[in-house]
Amino acid sequence: MAFGAFGAAPGAVEVDAAPQRRSPVALLLLLPGLAYLALFFVVPFVSLIITSLQMPDPLGFGEPGRYVNAFRWENYVEVVTTYWPHFLRSFGYALAATAIALLIGYPLAYFIGVKLRRFKMLQALLLVLVIAPFFISFLLRTFAWKQILSDNGPVVAVLQSLTILPDDARITGTPFAVIFGIAYNFIPFMTLPIYTSLERLDLRYVEAGGDLYASPASTFFRVTLPLSMPGVISGTLLTFIPAAGDYINASADFLGGPDTAMIGNVIEANFLRVQNYPVAASLSILLMATILLLVGLYVRRTGTKDLV
């Protein structure tokens, strides 16, 4: 047909073949960042690995906190066999909290970023409200929740008077309270990246979806959600990674109890109370490695490189 006239038009994306010149200025500007990373990541990381392989000081006579350098890889085997339930619990709680934060954060981000696009003032106001909890310390807010959810607090009283909760039941110290607390604390980290993606979403794609016979629900799952995946991925990572290592919400001083200890609580106890540094260090390394592995699999699976 008539398209033959320019059917052979170049279709491939032309890649700029000219090699990028490396400017010494760029490297110089990179220097503070590299120095920071070396000082505050590489050095502590190496130190942590060394600590994780230490053995008790044979001359320490069982005194706590005295260790000498060694290559005691058995530390790792011991912590895995002892603390695997805490690992599972940590990732389970983090996963649940991430899911809850996503279910709350996505609609919020959608409402602010898409529905309120024409009302810039309202949009700005709601964004400030999303960030507003940061004006108060994380510890104070979690402590406030402890008060609200405590055995003598209003929530338990109301639920007991409605006989939804039995008289001897409590909320704090349960997995529910810990997951709730983590989800609450990370909702802004989930909402903001998703908002950034949705705020740039070209609504003409949504119109095109409707024009091509996709129902609003179908358009959401096939057009809107895939196009906002970069935000969903950053939001879930920003929530899941710190949540897996969280030790405030799960601590018995806050929303948790003895049965809700996460891996962060174990590390904290070993470092600061029991002073069993090799165990704490090997737990930290294992936590880091597991998160890295999970995140790597997740990013590979969701295929961020294919996203725009």
């Binding site: 047909m1 008539a2 398209f3 033959g4 006239a5 320019f6 059917g7 038009a9 170049p10 279709g11 491939a12 994306v13 070209d202 003409r204 794609y205 119109e207 095109a208 979806g209 409707g210 024009d211 091509l212 016979y213 996709a214 129902s215 609003p216 179908s218 358009t219 096939r222 057009v223 895939p226 196009l227 995946m229 294919d306 996203l307 725009v308």
Partner: protein
């Protein structure tokens, strides 16, 4: 193209009004587009043509009035249940899907079993099957435009809406696409509703053009008909250029009316004039005018204006445009075919302008050139402004 053989359905707009806060985009618009035709809505930006298209697609709902496709009232039907597909101005190809997935999108939503094979077929039609596995960002603008067309046509809608789909292409590609779009429409036989502000595009492609202005249809008809016999000053100047003169009718016997234009008698065929008494505006296309360097004298069937003085000569290859200042009448624009080399007359020459009486037309507008209370609503004022703008552009050139 045996695979794509569905014929379109009639589209009927019945007294459609659309008000946005602060202004009325469409005013009681009624329109019938017969099945299988290529219909263009032509007008300047803000005339309501895109609003009309979006109402037909279901992306906007009318304030009042009805939209019928075939014989079904679809006014309250959501877009995804209308047998309509749109080629968007921005193409709106889904950036996260391959070209093939884009084209198969609509078919898969309607549950077609052979979605991918039909998508390949549609891509073959636009000769882009070899890029089926690529993402839209890897395609050129012209290729994306063809994919957008394939994505809409593959669903065999009753009605295909084109929202200035060629606007983003460069001139040469646009000319090619115009011809090819017309070919496709002839092949598939779907009703096309094409929205554009490019009068040349509308005239090349459409069977019927509706010229829109201020939320209303000014005139509707075949391209040649609109061009040869515009009914309002807006149409006369939006579709090509016109020389317009105003004056009282002094006689209307026989098959011509005679208008007194600043003391000169200009005749217009009665059948081509909308108004036959009082002050009227008459016009003639610049290419119908002939230049004479000496007084041609009065003869039957020919209008003469002059003497006037050429004050601008612009050469454009195929033709030369002369602007002639005629005392008492104003500036008259003349397009002369370059049948000899170089301009026929020089800048500053004294000339007479003549044209065959049969080429003139009389407009339906009130002829007052003075600005009224609300000049924005007046087609004449717009036409005058447009004309001034064109003249200013020509001056600059």
């Amino acid at each position: 193209m045996s695979g794509l053989s569905s014929t379109g359905a009639d589209l009927e707009l019945d007294a459609v009004t659309k008000r946005f806060p602060g202004f009325t985009a469409l005013q009681e618009l009624s329109l019938t587009i017969p099945a299988g035709s290529f219909f263009a809505l032509l007008g300047p930006s803000g005339c309501g043509k895109t609003t009309t298209l979006r109402i037909v697609a279901g992306l906007e709902s009318p304030t009042s009035g009805r939209v019928l496709i075939g014989s079904d009232d679809v006014t309250a039907t959501p877009p995804h249940r209308r047998p309509v597909n749109t080629v968007f101005q921005s193409y709106a190809l889904f950036p996260h899907m391959t070209i093939l997935e884009n084209v198969a999108f609509g078919l898969k939503r309607t549950g077609a079993k052979d979605a991918y094979s039909r998508a390949h077929q549609a891509l073959q039609m636009v000769e882009l099957d070899h890029v089926a596995a690529r993402k839209p960002a890897q395609l050129s603008g012209g290729q994306q435009q063809r994919v957008a067309l394939a994505r809409a046509v593959v669903n065999r809608p009753a009605l295909l809406l084109l929202d200035e789909p060629l606007g983003a292409l460069d001139l040469k590609l646009r000319r090619q696409m115009q011809v090819e779009l017309k070919d496709i429409q002839t092949d598939v036989g779907i009703t096309f509703l094409h929205v554009t502000h490019d009068q040349e595009e509308a005239m090349t492609m459409a069977d019927t053009i509706a010229v829109m202005n201020k939320g209303r249809i000014e005139q509707l008809g075949a391209p040649a008909e609109l061009y040869e016999l515009p009914r309002t000053a807006f149409v006369a100047n939006f579709l090509g250029q016109s020389n317009l003169f105003t004056g009282p009718v002094v006689s209307s016997k026989g098959d011509t009316i005679v208008v007194d234009v600043a003391g000169r008698k200009i005749a217009v065929p009665t059948a081509r004039a909308q108004r036959h008494a009082g002050d009227v505006t008459i016009g003639v296309r610049p290419e119908k005018l002939l230049l004479h360097t000496s007084d041609p004298g009065a003869s039957a069937g020919v209008n003469v204006l002059g003497p006037g003085r050429v004050h601008d000569v612009s050469f454009s290859g195929v033709s030369t445009q002369y602007l002639v200042a005629v005392p008492g009448v104003g500036t008259v624009s003349v397009f002369a075919q370059n049948m000899v080399s170089g301009p026929v007359v020089a800048d500053g020459a004294e000339v007479w302008v003549t044209w065959n009486v049969d080429f003139g037309f009389g407009l339906a507008d009130e002829p007052s050139a003075e600005p009224r209370f609300d000049p924005d609503d007046d087609t004449q004022a717009i036409a005058i402004a447009q004309r001034k703008r064109i003249e200013a552009e020509l001056e600059e050139a």
